[in-house]
């Protein structure tokens, strides 16, 4: 193959996953945590697609599309929760939202 071999793509995917993990652990705003989860999912997608190209099988691309659909549904539910929390006049801070009592 011309250009970088899959090792480069996998290293980049590892970097992306680590950045997303860092965001989830470091930030307290649920919005930024959702954005960081998107970065982690995209790191996994990049690994899927680079292996798909390496094996010349398109199954990896199919599962990358499935991951995309799951990420869209996760964003819908997560943003619905964030809006519901905001409407109850609670502070958007995952350290303070530590109980599930209504």
């Amino acid at each position: 193959m011309k250009g970088p071999d899959p090792t480069w793509y996998l290293a980049l995917a590892a970097f992306l996953f680590a950045i997303g993990t860092l965001g989830v652990m470091l930030r307290r705003s649920p919005l930024i945590i959702l954005l960081s989860i998107e970065i982690m999912l995209n790191g996994a997608n990049l690994a899927f697609i680079s292996f798909s190209r390496h094996h010349a099988e398109m199954d990896g691309q199919i599962f990358a599309l499935a991951v995309m659909a799951v990420a869209a549904s996760e964003v819908v539910v997560g943003l619905g929760l964030i809006v519901a929390v905001h409407r109850r006049r609670l502070e958007l801070d995952v350290d303070k939202l530590s109980t599930l009592r209504g």
Partner: protein
Amino acid sequence: MGNALVWVVWFAAAFACLGSGAAVVSFTNPFYSALALIGNLGSLAVLYLLLSAEFVAAAQVLVYAGAVMVMFLFVIAYLGRDADAPWAGGPSWQALGAVAAAGALMVEIVIVIGLKASGRLAEAPDIGASFGTPAEIGTLFLTDHLLAFEVTSIVLLAAAVGGVVLGSHATDEERTP
């Protein structure tokens, strides 16, 4: 010549990807974080094109960087204020622990790739012109991966119903004084 161009595009997309990812994590304003994530998704679409996954790259731009991120930006505009200031007051021990844990995870993955895979990943098979086209993807979705396709539709339906339920029940508290 073409080889060098592929490397140049790869490095540009990879650095844009990592830079915008770091920007998502480090911006204090969630609006800027969401905009940086759009850049991240766009540069990943360039990498998908380099891996000859044309349909996934198009879906990435249309669905992810388009629809999903517009929804994000609407919610951020609706909430309408800065969320948190993570770097105020110096690093706490939780922040140092988070950096150490994320770094350990990354080093672990890179070492596993380097030890187990690097020799075998060097050669790649040739692919046909139809690799990654919408026709091939659609054929696979309706034959080999029909179950994944149907389960995905059920997941999307459940998410839509969940979004409606979450959005409608939250008004109960506003009506009661």
